[in-house]
């Protein structure tokens, strides 16, 4: 099964509530997947700062003094905000790749959840409610976000196997379904220079989109490519720095419902996920068509 949600705000007045709204959407789908849960929030751009979300099984050991050590190594100011097993490292955008390499050299046990100008990604083993509480997602503000609660099929129940998967700056993807040609596609993408952290099929879909966009495709074109290049069952919900996209495979057996009002575009695996959204009773509610790309950009 798995449950996926997405929320793309059009009305700036809702931005302070993004975390709370997305949290409730995800919690309502808890019984679609009890193994792990994750959420990606796209915050407001801060201008001269980029972020890396990191995770450690031993946060007290790995996060202590990390900001000062990275700052010294890269010669730029670095801050760290710890949230349970995750932390957000901030530094100047020009130094972000160097900071990432430095973190991995200094603390080999730290996992990178994602990086970019605006995205923060939190994911852990456990139910959505627990994950939302642990990372205080309800208090987060932002322009758009996606979330996932997992019933594992293709790889182990671990933090790294949880969604969203992020394989490019400010890009991430959640998936309901299973891919059957992910090993082949992974090999092709590795030849193309993509790096992988897991054996998971969904990570391949994320990397596929990142690779296409790195080669100059826009989000819509990259999503269109999944229909011919990825084999298997999928409903994907994707976030980019300023965009939000949805695509379902041609068989479309994985459920999907969307709603749109003047204030937002929302996605849920089921209508249950949308029932608490403001104005839902008057929203345009529809089932996205098979093999059809939907995307919105700010």
């Amino acid at each position: 099964m798995c449950g996926i949600v997405g929320l793309f705000l059009k009305d700036k007045a809702l931005e302070p509530k993004l975390g709370a709204m997305l949290s409730e959407m995800l919690i309502s789908l808890s019984d679609r997947g009890p193994d792990s849960a994750g959420i990606a929030i796209y915050g407001a751009p801060s201008g001269n700062e980029a972020k890396i979300t990191i995770q450690s099984a031993k946060p007290e050991r790995d996060f202590r003094g990390l900001d000062a050590e990275v700052a010294k190594a890269i010669g730029a100011p670095v801050s760290i905000a710890v949230k349970s097993t995750h932390a957000v490292i901030r530094t100047t955008p020009a130094k972000i790749d160097e900071a990432r390499e430095t973190i991995q050299a200094l603390r080999p046990d730290i996992r990178i959840m994602g990086a970019g100008d605006v995205v923060e990604i939190y994911k852990e083993v456990g139910l959505p409610e627990a994950v939302v509480e642990r990372f205080d997602v309800r208090s987060m503000t932002g322009t758009h976000g996606i979330g996932h609660t997992r019933m594992a099929t293709e790889s182990a129940v671990t933090t790294m196997g949880a969604h969203p998967f992020s394989t490019g700056a400010d890009q991430c993807l959640v998936h309901n379904g299973s891919l059957s040609n992910h090993n082949n596609v992974r090999r092709e993408l590795i030849r193309d220079g993509m790096k992988f952290e897991t054996e998971n099929d969904t990570e391949v879909a994320a990397a596929y989109l990142s690779s296409k966009m790195a080669h100059g495709k826009n989000l819509g074109e990259a999503l269109e490519g999944t229909l011919s290049d990825l084999d298997g069952f999928f409903t994907f919900v994707v976030g980019t720095k300023n965009g939000f996209g949805v695509v379902r495979d041609p068989i479309a057996c994985k459920p999907a419902v969307m709603a749109e009002t003047d204030q937002y575009v929302a996605f849920g695996s089921e209508y249950r996920a949308l029932t608490k959204l403001p104005g839902i009773d008057n929203a345009r509610v529809w089932e996205p068509e098979p093999a059809t790309v939907y995307f919105w950009e700010h």
Partner: protein
């Protein structure tokens, strides 16, 4: 489930028994429906705040009327035997799955596999139905005011599927003896499904179905009929190489 909770349900002035799912559990609703016995005076029910709940009014086996005020999730009205269920909203996957008799009306849209494996009764979808509508239908009648998605009536065995709008890809793939009537465009026909002549008995049958579904502004002559070419019924030795 304690029976005392069920008594919290109240009666409104029209004597419908009102069941608010914001206050009572789905299991309490379905249990109360299952406890109905023949001749019960509680023939009118109203369900409030379904909010996408799964399995609303599944397994009803008495001739009662149930009005659901809002949208439902998976499997609403599944296995219905004699109930008259109206959803004043949209329905998730599998509405009316394996219905035996009675009727289900969806005022909005229906998701995948509406009426799947249905054996009897009438399913009316006033909006659109998505993929696999009427898959493996075995005697149910389905009337869709809007369009239906791909792979509808896959392996349909008997019964009638009436579509006032368009049908998606692979309509009636591997169909047996169900009759398909489509007023609009058919994206493509599935294996062994062909267009067939509309004879007087089909016009008469379709008029009856439209009447039962409350469709008054559409004539049977506007539809095309599709059904089985019956070439897949028996193994064809010429195809042995394919296996």
């Amino acid at each position: 489930m304690p029976a005392t909770n069920v008594s919290k349900a109240t009666r409104d002035q029209s004597h419908a028994r009102v069941f608010d799912l914001a206050e009572l559990s789905l299991r309490e609703l379905n249990q109360a429906l299952h406890q109905l016995t023949p001749g019960s005076n509680e023939t009118a029910w109203e369900v409030l705040n379904p909010k996408g709940s799964h399995s609303v009014a599944v397994g009803v086996d008495q001739p009662v009327a149930i009005d659901v005020r809002g949208s439902v999730g998976y499997y609403c009205g599944g296995m219905n035997a004699g109930g008259t269920i109206t959803v004043h909203g949209s329905a998730g996957p599998g509405v009316g799955e394996n219905m035996m008799s009675g009727s289900i009306t969806i005022k909005g849209d229906a998701s995948q596999y509406a009426g799947a494996t249905g054996r009897g009764g009438l399913l009316v979808i006033e909006g659109n139905a998505s993929s696999r509508c009427g898959i493996s239908m075995k005697g149910i009648d389905i009337v869709v005011h809007g369009n239906i998605g791909h792979m509808s009536a896959f392996m349909a065995q008997s019964g009638n599927l009436v579509v006032l709008g368009d049908a998606g890809d692979a309509l009636g793939d591997s169909i047996y003896e169900a009759r398909l009537f489509v007023r609009g465009k058919v994206e493509s026909l599935g294996a062994d499904c062909i267009a067939k002549e509309m004879r007087p008995e089909h016009i008469e049958l379709l008029q009856g179905l439209l009447d039962r579904a409350g469709v008054t502004d559409v004539k049977p002559s506007e539809f095309k009929r599709y059904g089985s070419a019956r070439t897949l019924y028996n193994f064809n030795i010429d195809n042995a190489d394919a296996y």
